[in-house]
Symmetry: C2
C-alpha cells in the first residue's frame, strides 16, 4: 500500500507541476498576451493540456490507483483525500473518449464566437443551433459519466462534488420563498439615494489603494500579484504564487475595489492552503462553492458591512482626500438594491434569483423539458416572475453569460452555494470574532484570516465540501442564514418596519 | 523521403510549441513572478525541460532524422535547413547522458549562489573551487561532443554554429591590433564633456517615450510587449509574441532608452522571421552573432549616430520639454569613451577588448593552459595590457559576469561577432539607404526595417550565419568594417587629426 501511495504521489506531483505551466499560460492569456499572439497560444495550450490529460490517465498504470481506492478506509485522513481526489479526476477523464474531448473543445471555440456575434447583434436566433448542439453534447456527457436520480447530477458533480439536484432544489426553494416577496418589499420602497460614484480617480492611485486594501485584508503580495483583466479572476499557479486580477474605472473607484476584495477572498484562501498539498492534488479549495464562499464573505458579508466601510473609507481618503461621500453614504451606495437584467451587475439581494433562473433552465435543457429555440421566452418569463422586469433584448437576457458557449453546464449553482455558505460561515465566525460587528481594525482582519485558516483554508481539499461546512457550522447547507442576513440588513437599511 | 519529412515536421511542431510554455515560464520568472514563487517555479521548469528533452531525443525515432540527413542534398533549401537544424540539436543532445545534464544543472545552481556570494564579498577565492569544477565539466562536455582542431570549437559551436578558434583568432587579432593603440589615442585626449544625465524623469513618462521610440523603429506592440527586468532581454515566445524588457533610472533617461533600442533590434528581428518557420525549428535568428548584430546595429550604428539622435531628441522633448541637452550634447554624451572595468557599462570602442580578454581566458582554461586559482592575476594583467587600467577588486574584475557560473563557456565571442557583423551589414545597407546618414525620418526607419527583413530577417535560420553574411555583404566575417567605423567616428568626435 505504501509503495503504491508513493508512486501515486510521484505521478500526481509531476501532473500538478506540469499543469502549473498551463495555469501560467492561462493567466498570461488573460492579462499580458499581445493581441496577435492569441492564436499560437491556443496550440501550446492544447499540447500542454494533452500532456496533462495523458499523465492523468496514467495515474492508474499498474492499477495502483484503483487498488488504492479499495484501501481507502485503511488510509490516513490526508492520504485518503489524495486517493479520493486522484480517483475522481481520473475516473471522470477515462469516461470521455479523446474524440469526445476534441469535439467538445472544437464546438466550444466555435460556439464562443457565435455567441459573441449573437450578443453583439442582440439576436438569439444566430446562436440557437450551435447552442442546441452544445446541449446535446452535454447530454452525451451525462450518458458517458452516468448518474443517479437525475441526469443533471452528473454535471454538477464536476464543479461541486457531492451536490445533487434534490439538495439544490431544497436550497433554491428556501431562497426563492423568501427572496421573491422580500425583493418586492425592498424595491417598492421609496428611497432617496442611488448608486452613483462619478469622480476622477487616476488609475495609478487606485492601484495603490487596491493593493493597500488587499494587504490589510491579508492577501500576501510576496506570494501573489494584482493585475488587470477584462474579467477579474484568481489563479493558483503554484505554491506561493496565487495571483488575482481586477479592472478599473477612472470614474468609479468602487468598480475595482469590490472586484479586488472579491478576488482577494479567493486569493487569501489559495495562499492559506498548505503548500505540501499542492503537489498531491489536494491543494485546491474544497469545492467551487466553498471557494466562492470565501470571496463572497470578503466582498459582501464583510466588505459591504458598515463596520468595514468605516475602515475602507479611511483608505479611500488616504489616496483621494477629496472623496466627497461619508461612510454612511458609501454604505448606502454599495448596498443599493435594484431590479436589473445582468447577473454580474446585480446586488447581493437579487443575485441568487439570477442563478435560480439559470439552474432551472439548465435542468430543463438537460432533461429535454424545454427546447433551445424557446429559450428567450422561457428566460424572459422567469425574469418577469422572479424580478418583475421585462427584458428588452436578448443581449440583456439569455445571451449575457459566456458559460453555456464554453460547455460549462452545472457551474452556475456554485455561485449560490457560495452565497449560502458565506452567510452560514460568517454567522459562526461572528461568535468567535464579535469585533467584526464593531470597530474593525487591521487586527480584526488578522483574526478573521486566522479563523478562516484554522477552520477552512488549512484543510485544502482534505474534506468534501459538505463535510467541511458541517464541521465548521454544525450543520449542512442551510439557506436560512443567508435569508436572515439579508432580511436583517435590508429591513434596517430600507426601513421596512 | 516526403513522409519522413512530414513526421519530422510534426515532431518539431510539438517540440517547439511545448517549449513555448517554457519560454513563457522563463519570461515570467524574470518579469512578474512573486518573490516567494521562485522555488516552485524551478520544479515546473525542470519538468517542462525534461518533456522537451525527451521530445528532442525522439526526433530520430524510426531513424527518420538520421536518414533524412543522408538526403540533405536532395532537399529544398527550406527543408534542408529544417533537417540540418533538427539534427544539430538532436545530435548535441544525444551526446550528453542524462546523468551529465543533471550534474551540470545542479552544479550551475550551486555555482550561481557561490558566485553571487563571492562577488558580494569581492573575494574570488570563495568561488575558485566550484569554478574549477565547472571548468572540468566543460572539458567533459568537450570530450562528449568531440571536436576538430581545437577543443574550444566544441563549445563555441553551440552558440555560433560553424565558428572556430582559427576564425575567431583572426578576427580578434584584427580588432586588437587596431583597438589597443586607438583607445590610447582617444582616452589620452583632453575633452570637455562627460557622460552625465542627472534629472528627474518619472518612469510613467519614460515608459511612453520608450514605447514611442520602439514603435518608430518598427517594433510591433500588437505582437510584443515591453516590460521591466533586472537584466534586459528579448524572448521569442511564439509567432506574433516576441517580448522585450528594459529597466529604468529616474535620474537618467538614456539608461532605459539604449537598452530598449538594443532589445528592440532583437525584437524586430524576431518579429520579422516568417511565422511558418517557428514550428519547424528554423524560426530563430541565424545565430547568436547575427542576432546580436541586429541589436547592436539599432543600438550603436544607428542609435548613436548624429542622424538618429536628431530624431531621438525630438521624442525626448515630446515627453520631457525641459530636457536641457542639445542634440549635439546628446551625441557627445552617448559616445563618451572611458576606460572602465565593467563590460556591460563599456562603450562601443572599448567593448570588444572586454570580450577578447574573456575569449583568451576561456580558451586557455579549456586547454588547461591556466589554472583557475590564478584567474584574478591573469584577468587583471590583461586589463592592464589592453585597457591600461588597474582592477581594484575582484567584483569589478573576474567576478563581474554571470556566464561561467551558468556553464556558458563559448558564449562571449558572440557579442563581438555581433559587433563585427553589425558594422559589416550597416556598411552594405548604407549604400541602399543613404538617408541613414542624413535626415532620419520614420520613413527612413521603415526602409531600414524592410531592408533588414529582405536581406536577413525573412530567412530565419535557413542560412548558416557565415553564408548569410556572405550573401548580404559579399564577404565573410571581416573586422575591418568595424575598425573603420570606429576610426572615422571617433577620430572626428575626439578631433584626433
Amino acid at each position: 500500500m505504501n509503495s503504491k501511495l508513493k508512486i501515486l504521489k510521484k505521478r500526481l506531483y509531476e501532473l500538478r507541476y506540469v499543469s502549473s505551466a498551463s495555469s501560467l499560460l492561462h493567466w498570461d492569456s488573460n492579462v499580458y498576451i499581445p493581441k496577435n499572439g492569441v492564436s499560437s497560444r491556443a496550440i501550446t495550450n492544447s499540447l500542454i493540456d494533452e500532456i496533462c490529460h495523458k499523465k492523468l490517465l496514467k495515474l492508474d498504470d499498474g492499477h495502483i490507483l484503483t487498488e488504492l481506492v479499495q484501501d481507502l478506509p485503511k488510509l490516513s485522513l490526508e492520504d485518503a483525500a489524495i486517493v479520493r481526489e486522484a480517483f475522481r479526476n481520473f475516473d471522470r477523464s477515462r469516461k470521455f473518449p479523446s474524440s469526445f474531448i476534441k469535439r467538445l473543445s472544437q464546438l466550444s471555440t466555435k460556439a464562443h464566437h457565435v455567441w459573441k456575434e449573437a450578443r453583439d447583434k442582440k439576436d438569439f436566433s444566430i446562436y440557437s443551433d450551435i447552442l442546441e448542439e452544445m446541449v446535446s453534447m452535454q447530454k452525451e456527457a451525462v450518458d458517458l459519466l452516468g448518474y443517479e436520480d437525475h441526469p443533471y447530477n452528473a454535471l454538477i458533480d464536476d464543479y461541486e462534488p457531492g451536490m445533487t439536484v434534490s439538495k439544490l432544489d431544497n436550497m433554491f426553494n428556501g431562497l426563492k420563498e423568501f427572496l421573491v416577496p422580500f425583493i418586492r418589499k425592498v424595491t417598492s420602497k421609496d428611497i432617496s439615494w442611488e448608486y452613483v460614484i462619478d469622480g476622477k480617480f487616476p488609475i495609478s492611485k487606485q492601484i495603490k489603494l487596491n493593493e493597500d486594501v488587499l494587504s490589510v485584508l491579508g492577501y500576501d503580495f510576496s506570494s501573489g500579484r494584482l493585475d488587470v483583466s477584462t474579467h477579474p479572476f484568481t489563479i493558483d499557479i503554484a505554491p506561493y504564487d496565487v495571483r488575482i486580477t481586477t479592472r478599473y474605472s477612472k470614474k468609479d473607484l468602487l468598480y475595482a475595489l469590490y472586484s479586488s476584495i472579491h478576488e482577494g477572498g479567493h486569493g487569501i484562501y489559495g495562499q492559506g492552503i498548505p503548500v505540501e498539498y499542492f503537489g498531491v492534488g489536494i491543494g485546491h479549495g474544497a469545492s467551487l462553492g466553498i471557494h466562492e464562499s470565501q470571496s463572497r464573505m470578503y466582498e459582501n458579508l464583510l466588505g459591504r458591512s458598515m463596520s468595514f466601510i468605516n475602515l475602507l473609507h479611511k483608505y479611500i481618503l488616504k489616496y483621494f482626500p477629496d472623496f466627497n461621500k461619508s461612510p454612511e453614504d458609501l454604505y448606502k451606495i454599495v448596498n443599493h438594491v435594484s431590479l436589473g437584467y445582468i447577473r454580474t451587475e446585480s446586488d447581493e439581494v437579487t443575485y441568487n434569483l439570477h442563478i435560480i433562473l439559470r439552474y432551472e433552465i439548465e435542468k430543463d435543457l438537460i432533461c429535454g423539458n424545454i427546447n433551445v429555440k424557446n429559450l428567450p421566452e422561457v428566460w424572459n418569463a422567469k425574469m418577469k416572475e422572479y424580478l418583475g422586469v421585462q427584458v428588452p433584448s436578448d443581449d440583456l437576457g439569455v445571451l449575457q453569460d459566456v458559460h453555456w458557449s464554453s460547455g460549462n453546464f452545472g457551474y452556475f449553482p456554485t455561485y449560490s452555494i457560495g452565497n449560502i455558505y458565506s452567510a452560514q460561515i460568517y454567522n459562526t465566525m461572528l461568535k468567535d470574532i464579535p469585533e467584526l460587528k464593531g470597530n474593525i481594525s487591521s487586527d480584526t482582519l488578522k483574526s478573521m484570516k486566522s479563523w478562516l485558516y484554522e477552520n477552512i483554508h488549512k484543510y485544502g481539499r482534505i474534506y468534501p465540501a459538505e463535510d467541511l461546512i458541517t464541521r465548521v457550522t454544525g450543520e449542512g447547507m442551510n439557506p436560512m442564514y443567508f435569508n436572515k442576513y439579508i432580511e436583517d440588513k435590508y429591513t434596517s437599511l430600507y426601513e421596512l418596519n
